[in-house]
Amino acid sequence: MADTYDVLIIGAGPGGYVTAIRAAQLGFRTAVIDREHLGGICLNWGCIPTKALLRSAEIYHYMQHASDYGLSVEKVGFDTAAIVKRSRGVSGRLNGGVGMLLKKNKVDVIWGEAAIDSAAKGNQPGQVTVKETKRAEAPKGAKGAGTYSARHIIVATGARPRAIPGIEPDKRQIWTYYEAMVPEAMPKSLLVMGSGAIGIEFASFYRTMGAEVTVVELLPQILPVEDAEIAALARKRFEKQGIKILTGAKVTKVEKAADSVTATIEGSDGKSQQITAEKLISAVGVVGNIENLGLEALGVTIDRGVVVTDGLGRTNVPGLYAIGDVAGPPMLAHKAEHEGVICVETIKGLHTHPMDKGKIPGCTYCQPQIASVGLTEAKAKEQGFSVKVGRFPFAGNGKAIALGEPDGLIKTVFDAKTGQLLGAHMVGAEVTELIQGYVVAMTLETTEEELMHTVFPHPTLSEMMHESVLDAYGKVIHS
């Protein structure tokens, strides 16, 4: 057969395209299939374009507070279309970059909807049928519909927004991140369902741009996966900015009018209230794209919407693999990328280990930023650790004061017995750029001792990371 690949990847999101490049580096004849965009949701409708929007909001915020820094601005304003255009431009540029990288690595791009007909068996390669798609035009040089065969097929189809019955997104009043990413005009009021990273980021963006924002969270805590102390601090800051937050609250009904929605929200006390807003953003999580791929027919084990793998990307069907969102949480781009690399290196026969999911950092780019890795204090205690907890506030850090960002906290959680860094949790300016310091430390299995012996540059925000460790052991200097 003319088109037999060693590795065929379905989905060119951050997991898929990184996996493809690594596969090509390992000498595999590789192709990646996508139906909509190179770079996936992350690059086109997720991580990247939101960062562009949030950057505009951040600068807008600084402009509004220019006088705090001794500056004067004549007239502060914004042009929604220009903000969106910039965000799309950023995505477009990176999207082109992915195409270049794939080409450079001699990875074939196949355009269309893929379904797996068979997995490889003996000397017989697996087969994938690709049908034409109308979703988006194929990039230049891409192959089209047809039947392709490969010895190893990797499913990397990502996820899509979860829809709640009765509150289905309609692209008009009820938005998902797709519509929220490209507003034609800034809504005057907004209701955000869900306070995970996506919900909070949009709440933060639209609030900064002037909307009345209400966030409704089913659980008792916003940012439910984060450390309770960090989430509480963040909540205080959000509320100070004017975001209205309802936790332990459930949207029970949504009624649409011509240009507004009215949601009935039931609180944990059982009392109902109605909130009317111009738009509602449904950000209640994402679900894996496991449908219409032929997985059921092939007998692939699927558990609650997640393709079950062995930690090295292998499904129960030989020759068939899954990585990224379809292979289960955390549904993060960097997890998908790492998982994909492990998967193809395993195929190559290299010595691999399953990813330690306890060491995957998470970042939320609201104002203030949130970043964390490892166990929260509560989780650590739940797992039976006796913990030592260190805390250091931004208010004690010279650089933070100089930046005009005195609000925030860096918290560290150690195992009292072994000195193992179990988790680190941060809220405040630029913490998303700080967290990887602790991730490296955790991956190298440092104890508090090495962290204490590490010299942190002055004056930086990173000094707080040092101080937080010192605090856990009663040696903190600036607090």
């Binding site: 068996k121 003996g122 007998g299 692939v300 084990t301 079950v308 793998t309 062995d310 930690g311 090295l312 292998r314 499904t315 129960n316 069907v317 030989p318 026969g349 280990h353 399953p354 017995k417 072994t418 000195g419 193992q420 190298l444 299995e445 440092t446 104890t447 001792e449 090495e450």
Partner: protein, 482 residues
């Protein structure tokens, strides 16, 4: 940093062996591939090859020593640039670091209740190989403990041990000797999980080396996943050991599916648990071939003009086995722990090869069914076996099986009994042979068949009676029609 030479496991089941002969003396230079010693097991004599270079510095187990446990330190090789005279055996005994690996085959073979074998479905759906989160973790700890091919030394004694700070601290707190822990981190660095595995395995305790060796990892780590999930077949050489014999890139690693795992496990068990013996007969099949032609020629036709049946030689063999079991009732039985189960009717399994494995659907009451019924039933079974659509009750049980490799031109072979059955008939190709008949050479069609018998159920004479009954039916096939 001397290189430790450990007692190798020459077979999956080997737990100890005799050190028959040293082929190198202390002081001899050693090249990779040199034969160092000969090891004897109850089955064979094998050579131990060096995989390292250096000088044979010390022989720790003299030749003629019997029952040397697998993974015991037997010699030290001084690495290049090292003074062979200064080489000392490590205090803890180099082999102590990995009794877990050595102990595992035993763990997995012993089923409670001695020789009891449980029946398991061969094709618990094609997806029997459900990966669990536990499996890789188990594989890892096995890797961490098994080390290099031929069981080269764990971290060099006396040299610098590369270990993560956390691993060092836990080792110190729990009294673990890091130099006896095999590192699974980058470049062999000892990391937390290695130390945790050593603690869980009860190995590498500093200051108590012999005690540790005496009580190898019998108790798995409390947090460890169920052992069964990880290894379906009794472990032989570890993955790393096997990999070590080959050039990286010379092979592709193929994960096992459920069927392969089950076949590996059950047939290994069968071979180990059921004492096999083999009886071979030649059957003249001229009469059978003739009868088959007549019967097939007389088959009625359905409305599409298709014959109602088309008998194969194998259909006759199934029927003959079924009738033979009825004629020799003592052989129509299977072993069941402390008794035998004897059957009234004959259940005959038939091996059907499919892509990547095999099924043995069972023809029930093969003694009572007509040839055409058996034939049509088999066609249905074979088709559904290939589609993996057989129901468990269709391939479970059976007293005997028929495995026919005649179509591949095989003249004679022996088959492994498929638990819980007590016999299996391995059938070769029908072919023209010159034989002596009435004191003169004659050309006849012959077929060789070999019966594997479970000696717990059948003794030699009983087995001979069974296969004689089979032969008689095959050679006088009219007996199968009445």
């Amino acid at each position: 940093m001397p290189i430790n030479v450990l007692m190798p496991a020459l077979s999956p089941t080997m737990e100890k062996g005799n050190l028959a002969k040293w082929l190198k003396k202390e002081g001899d230079p050693i090249k990779s591939g040199d034969v160092l010693a000969e090891i004897e097991t109850d089955k064979a004599t094998m050579e131990v090859e060096a995989i390292d270079e250096g000088v044979l510095a010390k022989i720790l187990v003299p030749e003629g020593t019997a029952d040397v446990p697998v993974n015991d330190l037997i010699a030290l090789i001084a690495a290049e640039g090292e003074d062979p005279g200064s080489v000392q055996a490590p205090a803890g005994g180099g082999g102590d670091a990995k009794p877990a690996a050595a102990a595992s085959p035993a763990d997995q073979n012993t089923t409670p209740g001695g020789g009891h074998m449980s029946y398991e479905r061969v094709n618990e759906a094609p997806g029997g190989a459900t990966p669990t989160q536990g499996a890789p973790a188990k594989a890892e700890s096995a890797k961490a403990e098994s080390g290099k091919p031929n069981g080269a030394a764990p971290a060099e004694s006396g040299g610098r041990v590369f270990a993560s700070p956390l691993a060092r601290r836990i080792a110190r707190q729990d009294g673990i000797d890091l130099s006896a822990v095999r590192g699974s981190g980058p470049h062999g660095r000892v990391i937390e999980r290695d130390v945790r595995a050593a603690i869980a395995g009860g190995t590498a305790k500093a200051g108590a080396p012999k005690a540790a060796a005496a009580a190898p990892a019998a108790a798995p780590a409390p947090a460890a996943p169920p052992q069964k999930a990880a290894a379906s077949a009794p472990a032989g050489l570890s993955l790393d050991q096997v990999r070590g014999f080959f050039q990286k890139g010379a092979y592709e690693e193929v994960p096992l599916d459920g069927m392969r795992k089950t076949i590996a496990k059950r047939l290994t068990e069968a071979m180990q648990v059921a004492p096999h013996f083999y009886l071979t007969v030649d059957c003249e099949i001229d009469a059978l071939m003739k009868l088959r032609e007549q019967l097939n020629g007389s088959a009625g036709k359905d409305k599409d003009g298709k014959p109602n049946f088309k008998l194969s030689v194998n259909d006759f063999i199934i029927k003959a086995m079924g009738l033979a079991l009825i004629r020799v009732p003592a052989a129509n039985a299977v072993w069941a722990e402390d008794r035998v189960l004897r059957f009234k009717n004959a259940e005959v399994g038939v091996a059907v090869a499919i892509d990547g494995g095999l099924f043995t659907p069972v023809i029930r009451r093969a003694d009572e069914k007509t040839l055409s019924t058996i034939s049509n039933e088999m066609k249905d079974f074979a088709g559904r076996a290939r589609a993996k659509k057989l129901k468990p009750e269709e391939y479970q049980g059976g007293v005997t099986s028929v495995s026919n490799l005649g179509m591949f031109g095989i003249k004679h072979f022996t088959a492994v009994i498929n638990p819980p059955q007590s016999t299996i008939l391995a059938v070769g190709a029908g072919e023209k042979r010159v034989v002596v008949k009435d004191n003169a050479p004659a050309v006849v069609q012959m077929m060789t068949a070999t019966l594997s018998c479970d000696h717990r159920v059948l003794d030699g004479a009983l087995g001979a009676e069974l296969i004689a009954a089979f032969k008689s039916l095959i050679e006088n096939p009219m007996g199968m029609l009445v």
